[in-house]
Symmetry: C2
Subunit: 396 residues, 2 copies
Amino acid sequence: MSKNFEHLLSRRTQNMKNNAIRNILKVVSQPGMISLAGGIPAEESFPLEQMYVINEAVLNKYGADALQYDLTEGFTPFRHALVDYVARKGIHVTHDQLMVFNGSQSVLDTIAKILITPGDNVALESPSYLGAISAFNAYEPNYVSIETDENGIVPESLDNLLATNTIKFIYLVTTFQNPTGRTLSLERREAIADIVKKHNALVVEDDPYGALRFRGEPVPPLYTYAPANVIYSSTLSKIFAPGLRLGFCTAPELLRDWLNTAKQGADLHTNTYAQALATEYLTGGYIDEQLPRIIDLYRPRQEAMLNAMDAYLPDTYKWEQPEGGMFIWVEGPNGVDAEDIYWKAVENKVAFVPGKFFYLNDGEGLGTMRLNFTKINEATIENAIKTLGEVIHQYG
Amino acid sequence: MSKNFEHLLSRRTQNMKNNAIRNILKVVSQPGMISLAGGIPAEESFPLEQMYVINEAVLNKYGADALQYDLTEGFTPFRHALVDYVARKGIHVTHDQLMVFNGSQSVLDTIAKILITPGDNVALESPSYLGAISAFNAYEPNYVSIETDENGIVPESLDNLLATNTIKFIYLVTTFQNPTGRTLSLERREAIADIVKKHNALVVEDDPYGALRFRGEPVPPLYTYAPANVIYSSTLSKIFAPGLRLGFCTAPELLRDWLNTAKQGADLHTNTYAQALATEYLTGGYIDEQLPRIIDLYRPRQEAMLNAMDAYLPDTYKWEQPEGGMFIWVEGPNGVDAEDIYWKAVENKVAFVPGKFFYLNDGEGLGTMRLNFTKINEATIENAIKTLGEVIHQYG
């Protein structure tokens, strides 16, 4: 008899079903496909040569400690190194206010675990980061949208929402957002800080891309305007190596204690060796050389994409010019369904993500597209956008 | 205003409260304490010197792939290496039937996530591994006990339980169990395999210690007797390095698909670099030299403990002689509460774990103790047991 065990599945798996986007993106791995669909760093951005020295330093300095069980909250030298790293962003905390997780995905999962009872409201930008939704889904929340424009969420919309609903937390990617590349403006940060303080609300500020700024002035994290109301989460995935799975957060004390309890049950602690490597990367001066290199790698790729869009996309298509990050967000004219363009583009060996998948409701963002520029070089980017332009012109 | 956010906590946190054992064990970190309370490998068991070469080999062989995002199910070369490793235990699977997690703790968390709806029954040995209970608690199960003796769970008890209750899964540490050191006998494995097949039940077989055999013949995993009804989970924590957080499992296909979906939402994937290190450790011949060294390190420590127990513990105290693992389980006479002995022992700078904390119900296992012998050397072990014997004699 073939065993199936479908009857053993928990109720929450109903909420974790593979989503439509994963199905349409299956073709992206076809040979010869030029993909603007991903959201992953270029391999050339990794400090591969330096890893030989960094590894040796870790073994010399930490020895067996780098291989042993460690604290749930994180490897102490790494948390000290993170204190200095986040201070550059204007976040001033002590090492015991920082917790290390298996990538920021695991920060989001653990936050959802301690906060969401099935049916609770979680407020999202529109469009929003899909990975967060997939972390939260397992805990069966109800999502509510906050009105969003090119400067991020609209303060009045948030104020209304908090005045009329019980919201467990508000999830925001505040800088170079995924999927839109948008940055919540300084004025909006101040306004939103006032609003969440007024309502004693909790924000989860996810900041994976903030360090990837190609132009313009850095904007302080929302956390700095309302530290008692914000869980600030970030990652080393875009500035060191995503394969090491190192995310971290700082949170109000009571929530930190619960995050710690939840993490202990979920995985005991994060990889000690990876944390030791990251400690050396941060404190050994490597990041100070590598981060400018990463930015110098991505800036011309973004410029190549923007230039090619100017040259090859019709005037009816609009896009913003984010000052950093990994994505450009395109909005086609009314009546366009970017999934139609997607299938035509894929026939011509170019892939991207139709933006409608980042919205909560069917019918939203039909004409939008997310284009990634970090993974391929300038010439390939120009070819891809040229092809995309041809497909769009044919589509009419 | 001080923000607290206690009102934001999810219902499940009620089930995740810090347990009593963590509180009583706080004193273990006092200076000068000799601890038999832990369950962690000796630092001398790590292949520290070899790590220099292993690291270099990983960077040479896998380059940027070892630092990049990777598959949720695990790094493909590592899963191939695990195929050969589990074949030594009699488990014959292909690499796509194996999944890698952040330690076996994360295997347990993810299994619970996809299977437990609040209130579902999970069947446990008595006593049982506390880490598993802390992983499961977040999903709000109801626990039921299976009768257990020195040969593991009693088949008739399991048969009755499955005949009269709906059980989501049965959680067993089948070899050198934590906390008892007991191994489910060969006859019992066969009987239990028949029972779970008959009821189409699901077993989670956790096997962290099976490779740490000092004497006697290996017993095939329960999985080998009922592969369609068992999720087999193991770890490299005790045979390589726990700080790398590498657990793995094989599961029936439908459950594997759901584990994968759940893991993608929880942490995307396990540390690629750690998996690459482990690949080299397994395929480069390192494990074949290191595992005998680990066993040669622990065997005399266990012997020293058993000899000292013979010499210093009263005849009214009983213990078994496990053929491997990390623990010896002691049972005092009726009327003894080992927590009283614990506090007296701690005053004399020796710590262990009172066994009652591994039972589901108050009043069970009052006179039991779990003693770990892997972390300290033979002379220190003898001193600790001598002190423990003196404390017990004074306790009367």
